[in-house]
């Protein structure tokens, strides 16, 4: 396994640790809520291991828990997950091998690993992305196991403020993207589009349509930055790691 010796992959593993801690807390709350909604503990754990997508899992769970249908849950989850279509297209040229191998490698994408591996010039650091995802997959599974097994003792996980975790981490990655004017314009436009659509569209659609704000990249060249967004986001994550 040459990947395990790759210093970039190892750096990714370290960068992924603080994100893994957040994943663990989030998936713990998924496990708690799923079991309270009527999943067996095994079903909650298998969901996290196979689906491995927080926004899709929570979207489906909230609809099923509210008595919604299978079709409604799957539709909501697909909409929440649809941003990975855009992310996969962006990532594609940076992956290796033929279509089957690239499709397999593409399974390693999660929001934070995709953003950290983004070099800002249209290419991605593949090894860094794999490394960043590993601690998050491990902790996503561990958190769900804990939540599914001890869930009944905890009550409503929102009581502990866990729903503030995920947006704060994304703010952390986002701030590193705001160093050039292209990033700032894209962020403001993306945020505004999403907010404007929330009252009128099903969950997931606002974020999907907000991806169109990236078209500002046609007008504002970003150029290659010496320490692209990956490196900058990494520095922040590393700061956090030291604090832990």
């Amino acid at each position: 396994m040459t990947l395990l010796r790759d210093p970039v992959f190892r750096r990714g593993l370290r960068l992924g640790v603080p994100f893994g801690l957040v994943s663990g807390a989030l998936s713990l709350s998924f496990g708690v809520v799923a079991v309270q909604a009527g999943f067996t503990p095994l079903q909650a754990i298998v969901t996290s291991m196979l689906v491995f997508a927080g926004s899709a899992q929570f979207a489906a769970l909230s609809i099923l828990a509210g008595g919604g249908s299978f079709v409604a849950a799957l539709t909501a989850a697909s909409l929440m997950h649809s941003r990975f279509l855009a992310m996969g297209i962006a990532l594609a040229p940076s992956l290796k091998g033929g279509p089957a191998r690239r499709a397999l490698e593409g399974q390693a994408v999660v929001d934070s690993s995709w953003a950290l591996a983004n070099r800002g010039d249209g290419t991605f650091d593949r090894a860094l992305m794999f490394g960043t995802t590993v601690p998050q997959y491990v902790m996503w599974t561990v958190g769900t196991v804990v939540g599914a097994l001890v869930g009944d003792l905890l009550g409503n996980p929102d009581r502990f403020g866990l729903d503030a975790l995920f947006p704060t981490f994304f703010v952390g990655i986002l701030l590193a993207e705001l160093r050039d004017s292209r990033g700032r314009v894209a962020a403001v436009a993306g945020g505004a589009i999403a907010l404007a659509l929330v009252p009128f569209t099903p969950a997931g659609v606002p974020v999907l349509v907000a991806a169109s704000a990236a078209l500002v990249g046609l007008a504002i060249p970003g150029g290659r930055r010496p320490d692209g967004p990956g490196a900058a986001g990494g520095a922040r994550a590393a700061d956090g790691e030291e604090a832990a």
Binding site: T40, G88, P199, R236
Partner: protein, 106 residues
């Protein structure tokens, strides 16, 4: 929940299939070619656009309503700390503590 245990297993498998296929489409169909110049600018701008959209919907959307909740305040406080270059994990801790404290008080 209106699904039986068996139906829920089917739903879980369908979810897993859907997420895997969504992630596979781009890499399987697009990869292997270098990007045209215009595309790299758009892809570079995708992360800030998507991240900003994820943050504002997580913080301000309560179903189809726009609302300010305890976690809106918690994430706002953490954002200020991040701007002051406080380490990420400390800022996350602050977000959680502020949110939980507000929920306990009100």
């Amino acid at each position: 929940m209106s699904l039986s245990e068996g139906q829920l297993w089917l739903a879980i498998l369908a979810l897993a299939l859907m997420t895997a296929v969504t992630k596979a489409i781009g890499p399987a169909l697009v990869g292997g070619r270098p990007l045209p110049r215009w595309a790299s600018g758009v892809i570079g701008a995708m992360a800030p656009a998507l991240l900003a959209a994820l943050v504002v919907t997580a913080v301000f959307a309560d179903g189809p309503r726009l609302a300010v909740d305890a976690h809106t305040v918690g994430v706002g406080a953490a954002t200020l700390l991040l701007l002051l270059r406080v380490p990420l994990l400390l800022a996350v801790l602050a977000a959680v503590v502020v949110t939980a404290a507000l929920r306990a008080l009100f």
